[in-house]
């Protein structure tokens, strides 16, 4: 957090604060009168603690913040945490009411809090991160007037707080209520009752049901993301669900027209995901517990755990369970919005009657045509669009990736890039020298270095060894990979090395074929994705959180299903997100997907829409077979190698367009791969870890 962005302010100058003072506590209670808050604002609820001027930062600019009031209340011996943004005029016009409500934390019982991490830097503001047992975390809560210590002390008086043995800034919340008690008490809370899923099935049948739909979605909204709708009841236009259904109505009339003209084309093209071949029709579907209970059925059990290639992604419609319909009529949408892919950039020029070296030259010439005489990319948007709709011919990747990754600036000239390369080559050599000059004697006394090197050594020999570029003993490319990763762990000593990094580096080295160039491309990529590997896993938590918001927006029945089945932490998507589908596709396809995502053409967070697209394709399987967390995780892991890239990207595009601004608003600013907060200390770390 840069201190100069906003000085610590006198509270009387703070519009948010002033507004809250005027409204007083009565209106705070009123703004809080949604269903969830019944329990917290009930007469029995006792206010334990109140702290004003606790803020969250929805964007990277310190000046853009949402201030609010943090409260601890207690009812029936359960402690609740709430954070309510101040109502009234916002101090910053860029912040919408939607932003405010997105982040509202409405009475979360401490029985659902797993841990609290505190950050009390000597310089800059103190903040805490509250992590729920589901694994999701709220955005950091900044204590503008200090007082994190007092807050924790207060919490400690009411729940059992234990300091983590791993990290002295993490406090684990232990609740001693028995699971039985917890279950019973949760039954009293109206908001935690499952809502008839039928209500949310058909968002399109008339005006009154859109009201229904709105209520339903707020009722079943997961607590982490729980949007305090009540404060904004009159502003219907801010309800994403309602917006969606209106959009849909408009678009559906288009679809029918559109579909008539294109049906033939669509069916011939749609050979991947949307296959109309339903061979699972006669396959009985059993619920999981039944199946395990009966050993005679073990054969079926086998089937469930090893899906055959063709069945994995097919929506088998026959099941004993009524699967709520997809509110988006997803099939039609993606047909309408997801444009067919073009051949990869540079492909047209490819002819089979010429030698590979000439082919390569021609591809390069194609790219050169996009540059001005001095080598600047004239229209970066056109380039990104072209790549988004078809990827890049392999020979061209080495030219284009450095631009997409941000290592080369689009407006740089040939000469400038030449110069950059040579400067960076020397810089790389210097960085590499840092660890190469460590003598065996020094290494003996340098545990952290030894451990890092050990970890990297173990990982590079486990990375893509079946791919021919890295095949075989004493492979030089494997050595290069090791050197680059070790050098990176010195270049970014705070972040260090983390598993998954070698997965990212491998295709980059394969494409760039040069150690220094690969290193700097990797550095550029890590500028955006470094937070995936951060020790507090905050980058991953924000992305999983954003994914849950997107699914809630784009498929509320599926969201409800995950909620009811304790799957809301989305950990089953962890691998997808950590290494951006690297393990889900074959090598060439991964490179294709990456370059499409790196264009940031429709969204910086296209990968999240890819997640939603795949989940939606499997929705009726997931819900129809009543998968529990374990089964779902296994199912998702086994999708690896069975996802059709082109149709998935097309679906994701459709979803991204459909979600529009509501989609963008569901993703908290700063969520990777957006560039992280510019606060100088990207990875502030404790000293006691690797």
């Amino acid at each position: 957090m840069s201190m100069e962005a906003t000085e610590l302010q006198d509270l009387s100058d703070d519009a948010d604060y002033a507004a809250s003072q005027q409204q007083g506590s009565a209106s705070m209670m009123r703004s809080d009168s949604g269903k969830r808050s019944l329990q917290s604002e009930h007469e029995d609820a006792v206010l334990i603690y109140l702290k004003d001027n606790v803020a969250i930062h929805p964007t990277q600019f310190a000046s853009e913040r949402i201030s609010g009031r943090l409260k601890l209340t207690k009812q029936d011996s359960v402690l609740f945490l709430s954070w309510i943004p101040y109502k009234g005029q916002t101090s910053n016009a860029k912040l919408s009411e939607k932003d405010r409500s997105l982040y509202t934390i409405t009475a979360v019982p401490f029985t659902e809090v797993r841990s609290i991490r505190r950050h009390t830097p000597a310089l800059g503001w103190q903040y805490v991160i509250v992590v729920l047992s589901s694994g999701l975390a709220f955005p950091p809560l900044y204590f503008y007037n200090g007082g994190v210590r007092e807050f924790l002390a207060m919490v400690k008086q009411h729940v059992f707080l234990a300091r983590s043995s791993e990290d002295q800034n993490v406090f684990i919340v232990n609740d001693f209520q028995s699971p039985l008690q917890r279950t019973l008490s949760s039954l009293e809370l109206p908001s935690s009752l499952p809502v008839a899923s039928g209500q949310s099935v058909y968002p399109l049948d008339g005006g009154s049901s859109s009201e229904n739909q709105r209520r339903t979605s707020s009722d079943v909204g997961n607590r982490v993301s729980s949007v305090s709708q009540s404060g904004f009841r009159k502003q219907k236009s801010h309800d994403p669900t309602r917006d969606l259904s209106i959009h849909l109505l408009e678009k559906f009339s288009l679809v029918t027209k559109f579909a008539r003209d294109t049906t033939t084309q669509l069916f011939s093209e749609n050979n991947g995901f949307g296959s109309i071949d339903k061979r699972w029709n006669n396959q009985p579907v059993h619920s999981y517990p039944e199946k395990l209970s009966n050993i005679a059925e073990e054969k079926h059990h086998e089937i469930r755990h090893s899906y055959s290639e063709n069945d994995l992604l097919k929506d088998d419609e026959i099941s004993y369970i009524d699967v709520p319909a997809d509110p988006l009529e997803f099939d039609k949408l993606s047909l309408m919005w997801g444009k067919p892919r073009q051949p990869p950039m540079g492909h047209k020029e490819r002819r089979n009657d010429i030698s590979p070296s000439i082919k390569c030259r021609i591809s390069t010439e194609y790219f050169t045509a996009l540059l001005d005489s001095e080598g600047r990319v004239v229209e970066s948007k056109a380039l990104r669009e072209r790549v988004f709709y078809g990827g890049i011919e392999h020979q061209l990747r080495r030219e284009v990736w450095p631009f997409l990754l941000g290592y080369y600036a689009y407006d740089s000239t040939y000469a400038e890039r030449e110069y950059l390369r040579s400067v960076k080559r020397m810089e790389y050599a210097t960085l590499k020298q840092q660890w190469q000059s460590i003598s065996p004697e020094q290494a003996k006394r340098f545990t952290k270095y030894r451990e890092r090197k050990g970890l990297i050594d173990k990982d590079v020999v486990r990375t893509d060894r079946a791919f021919e570029y890295y095949e075989g003993d004493d492979n030089l490319h494997v050595n290069s990979m090791r050197d680059i990763l070790l050098t990176y762990s010195f270049y970014n000593f705070d972040l260090g090395y983390c598993q998954g990094m070698s997965d990212y580096l491998s295709p980059i080295l394969f494409v760039m074929e040069d150690e220094s160039e690969s290193f700097w491309c990797f550095v550029a990529l890590m500028e955006r994705l470094g937070p995936n590997f951060n020790r507090d896993q905050n980058g991953m938590h924000t992305q999983l959180f954003a994914l849950s918001k997107l699914v809630e927006l784009l498929d509320s029945p599926l969201h409800n299903y995950f909620k009811e089945n304790d799957c809301l932490n989305y950990f089953f998507c962890f691998r997808w997100i950590l290494i951006q589908f690297k393990r889900e596709f074959e090598y060439e396809k991964t490179m294709q997907l990456w370059e499409v995502m790196w264009t940031h053409y429709l969204s910086e967070h296209f990968h999240l829409y890819v997640c939603v697209a795949v989940l939606k394709r499997c929705r009726s399987k997931i819900m129809g077979e009543q998968m529990d967390f374990d089964t779902l995780l296994k199912f998702i892991n086994e999708l690896s190698g069975h996802i059709d890239l082109d149709s998935t990207v097309r679906d994701a595009e459709a979803l991204c367009i459909e979600a529009g601004e509501n989609g963008a608003a569901s993703i908290p600013p700063g969520t990777p791969p957006s560039l992280p907060l510019d606060d100088g200390t990207l990875y502030p770390q404790e000293d006691d870890v690797l």
Partner: protein, 206 residues
């Protein structure tokens, strides 16, 4: 009813990155070793049928990533475990020293009902490397640690060659079964409440 529920036994394998957790699991379930397993990202599990007396059980073996910073994920995976297998590499002192961390972290995150008596099994892996010449943790030292933690059973294995792997998992399965049965007597009511909740959420209320 209770006997049905207990046909699934959940086992978690923990230990530092690279000690051979994935290799051990694959050696036991698929009877093979490959030099090309990738570093584990997130978590996965394999299942294997085991027989005790005349009953069949499904052993569900969870393999998670070994790097420290992924530990916070554990909370989603450790719950309901019947046995926890701690693995270290006999050629790496650090992996042995970290056993305490793994054990404590597991107890915190899984919060078993009876932490004192929760069954752990320790495995010292990679005994084949360099014919044991690069070994740095002695059997004696490992056994002393086991004794200090309430007599944890100990096995020395090679996931590569297959030495002792079957034996270790036999013991693991047995301990898991024992702890699973105790738990049944321990908390029958809560389990039933959970089950009826589950049924309510299957979407038949509309």
């Amino acid at each position: 009813m209770p006997s049905r529920r207990r046909t699934l036994l959940k086992v978690i394998i923990l230990g530092d990155s690279g000690v051979g957790k994935t290799s051990l699991m694959n050696q036991y379930v698929n009877k093979k070793f490959s030099n090309q397993y990738k570093a584990t990202i997130g978590a996965d599990f394999l299942t294997k049928e085991v027989q005790f007396e005349d009953r069949l059980f499904t052993l569900q073996i969870w393999d998670t990533a070994g790097q420290e910073r992924f530990q916070s994920l554990g909370v989603a995976f450790y719950r309901g475990a019947d046995c926890c297998v701690l693995v270290y590499d006999v050629n790496s002192m650090k992996s042995f020293e970290n056993l305490n961390n793994w054990r404590e972290e597991f107890l915190i995150q899984a919060s078993p009902s009876d932490p004192e008596n929760f069954p752990f099994v320790l495995i010292g892996n990679k005994v084949d490397v360099d014919d044991g010449n690069s070994r740095v943790v002695s059997e004696k030292k490992a056994k002393a640690w086991c004794a200090s933690k309430g007599n944890i059973p100990y096995f020395e294995t090679s996931a590569k060659v297959g030495t002792n792997v079957e034996e270790a998992f036999q013991c693991i399965a047995k301990d898991a079964l024992k702890s699973g049965e105790e738990e049944e007597l321990y908390l029958p009511d809560t389990i039933d409440v959970g089950t009826s909740n589950q049924q309510r959420s299957t979407g038949c209320e509309c």
